[in-house]
């Protein structure tokens, strides 16, 4: 009966219920949107590392993040390839370049040079063309989302990067980098554009055989390359993300706006639920007079809070899903890891209950004798 009373009161007081729902939806959407953008940016930060297909990365000593690494001798590749348990080792060349558009504008790009035919750390999603396009000496890819900023280059069209001729051979789909628009090419062209000496590379990618253990392989590889630094892929990915979060103020900025979103939601919930209880004081007094205990009144308000939370969370996540859908094909970074929705839902539920504490306190303080006044 308590749950029925709770539900019926909510349905009867449509305005205040709607207000509380808006509060919950605000929490879910605003906080969720901030978090998905933040995680989207995370994916940009370490995109090369996460999609490399490698288990281990070798970079120069004291590398703080993947975009701030020095060069290594390419001969390390042969040393590492000879180790038991190594399936393959590939060099990678990458760096910043200037793309000259059709109308003479210059746009910054991040050039990534792969060694065919494996093409480790190469593009993994194509809108037009394929990775074989990079076998062409001058061939590059541009991303579909970057096309407007690069002057809408078409496939088979020629451009310049760092005053070196390139040809757009393929278009990737939603592959975004953090420090510039990603342009993939073959290693020879990349060296030419970036002026990287032939015997040097920026990183070495290592894939182990299925029966090998990454932890066990690391010391052996480090011993081979004492002047370099050896990372698990996940470790380098995390290190890169932490670097950018700490050093760009991004963490603080997102954290603050997420908190503001949550606070706005809690305030709305608190005010609307408190108002709802004030409107129903007489009803609670009557119920107390009829035999309801303080616990029963508390449960009624708690059930109301939970109903609002569940419905608001559902609507909020639908809106969030629509946002993610719309952002998927846009330059806006957005990514929601699988563990986030349940955590966000539980957190929102707790915030909703917290916001209704004041209302609960007011409800249970109602005196049954007030019915007789």
């Amino acid at each position: 009966m308590r749950s029925l009373v709770a539900l019926k009161i909510l349905l009867h007081d449509k305005a205040t219920t709607a207000g509380s729902l808006i509060g919950v939806i605000a929490i879910v959407f605003l906080v969720g949107q901030q978090i998905t953008v933040l995680f989207g940016l995370f994916t940009y930060m370490s995109v090369l590392v996460d999609h490399s297909g490698a288990d281990i990365w070798v970079c120069s000593k004291n590398t703080p993040n993947i975009n701030a690494t020095g060069t290594l001798p390419v001969r390390y590749v042969d040393r590492i390839s000879s180790l038991p348990g190594v399936a393959w080792a590939e060099p990678l060349v990458f760096g910043s370049g200037t793309f000259k558009t059709r109308d003479g504008r210059c746009e910054g790009v991040q050039v990534v040079g792969l060694r065919p035919p494996r093409g480790a750390a190469g593009p993994w999603r194509f809108y037009e063309g394929s990775v074989n396009s990079l076998l062409d000496y001058e061939g590059i890819t541009v991303d579909r989302l970057d096309r407007p900023m690069l002057g809408n280059p078409e496939v088979n069209e020629y451009f310049e990067i760092n005053n070196k001729r390139v040809k757009v051979n393929a278009v990737t789909q939603s592959i975004k980098g953090f420090s510039g628009r990603l342009v993939f090419t073959n290693m020879v062209k990349a060296r030419e554009i970036l002026k990287t000496p032939p015997g040097r590379c920026k990183a070495i990618l290592i894939k182990l055989t299925p029966d090998s253990d990454v932890g066990a392989a690391l010391p052996g590889i480090q011993k081979l390359v004492p002047k370099a630094e050896v990372f698990r892929t996940s470790e380098l990915s995390r290190k890169t993300r932490i670097y950018y979060v700490k050093n760009t103020g991004m963490g603080g900025s997102f954290g603050f706006s997420t908190m503001v979103g949550a606070l706005v939601g809690i305030i709305i919930i608190t005010l609307t639920m408190y108002t709802a209880v004030l409107q129903r004081q007489k009803d609670f007094a009557v119920l107390r007079a009829l035999g309801a205990r303080k616990t029963d009144i508390f449960i009624i308000v708690l059930v109301q809070s939970l109903i609002i939370a569940v419905v608001g969370i559902f609507i909020g996540f639908v809106l969030l899903a629509l946002f993610l859908q719309a952002a998927h094909d846009s330059p806006l970074p957005s990514y929601m890891p699988g563990w986030l929705p349940p955590l966000h839902a539980v957190g929102t539920l707790l915030m909703c209950v917290f916001g209704s504490l004041l209302a609960m306190r007011k409800a249970i303080s109602v005196e049954p004798a007030s019915v007789f006044r």
């Binding site: 009373v5 019926k8 035999g291 309801a292 303080k294 007789f372």
Partner: protein, 242 residues
């Protein structure tokens, strides 16, 4: 000799008004008997509502003892008192005080399930029977807003009866009703008061209601000045109208 269903022994009530203490109900002994329609009459501020709320276990007395069916409930916690009210009392308030969010039927059964037990089928059937006896069979799904004052009060009566209470307390149930509706409600209460398992007490300031009483108690300035049950009434004073 019939045993009282409710007994107040040496009950008094003080109200603290900042630094002063005001005795609104003087030491009172009162017993309520089953099958008896007791009307407590008095002018505004006489203490009749205070007496009613103490009898209803809603207000705690400052002194004295309360017995419900010979059980001393004076020292009970709020929670136990609530359960006592649920199981032994029925209330009819001045303005019916139905919950506007619930239908007529839900308003009648709400008390039965309010402590979380759920509404048993027999209570639902009893509610339907009561509403039918009070000529409200066609109003089951209506909301209180759709009812007249008299209909609301009859729903309140059904709500008060659904748990088969030993004590029924009515706080000026006809004060907001027209003459015709008042008569219907009073006739229903009189009829119900004949139940030998139940004591009915009604508080009012309207002398037109007095003829319905089996027992008339007059209260003034916090003290009972007349009780028709006792042969040596102190003062037979007329009740002042509000």
């Amino acid at each position: 000799m019939t045993q009282p269903i409710l007994r107040l022994a040496g009950i008094a009530r003080d109200f603290h008004d900042g630094k002063t203490v005001r005795r609104v109900l003087k030491k009172t002994d009162l017993s309520v008997y089953p099958g008896e329609f007791t009307i407590i009459a008095g002018p505004s501020g006489s203490g009749k509502t205070t007496l009613l709320t103490i009898m209803g276990l809603i207000l705690k007395p400052s002194e004295g003892t309360i017995f419900v069916r010979d059980t001393d409930v004076t020292g009970y916690s709020e929670s136990r008192l609530a359960t006592m009210r649920l199981n032994n009392y029925g209330f009819v308030f001045q303005l019916a005080e139905l919950l506007p969010a619930l239908s007529v039927l839900e308003n009648v059964v709400v008390a039965n399930g309010i402590q979380g037990s759920g509404v048993a089928r027999r209570f639902r059937q009893k509610a339907l029977d009561l509403l039918e006896s009070l000529e409200l069979k066609d109003c089951l799904l209506l909301k209180p807003l759709q009812l007249s004052g008299g209909q609301k009060q009859r729903v309140a009566i059904a709500r008060a009866l659904v748990n088969d209470p030993a004590v029924m307390l009515c706080d000026e149930p006809t004060s907001a009703l027209d003459a015709e509706s008042s008569t219907i409600v009073l006739d229903a209460l009189k009829r119900l008061s004949q139940d030998q398992t139940r004591g009915m007490i009604m508080v009012t300031h309207d002398p037109r209601v007095f003829p319905y009483a089996d027992r008339l108690i007059k209260i003034e300035n916090g003290a009972i000045v007349y009780d028709s049950r006792t042969t040596d009434a102190a003062v037979d004073a007329p009740v002042q109208n509000q």
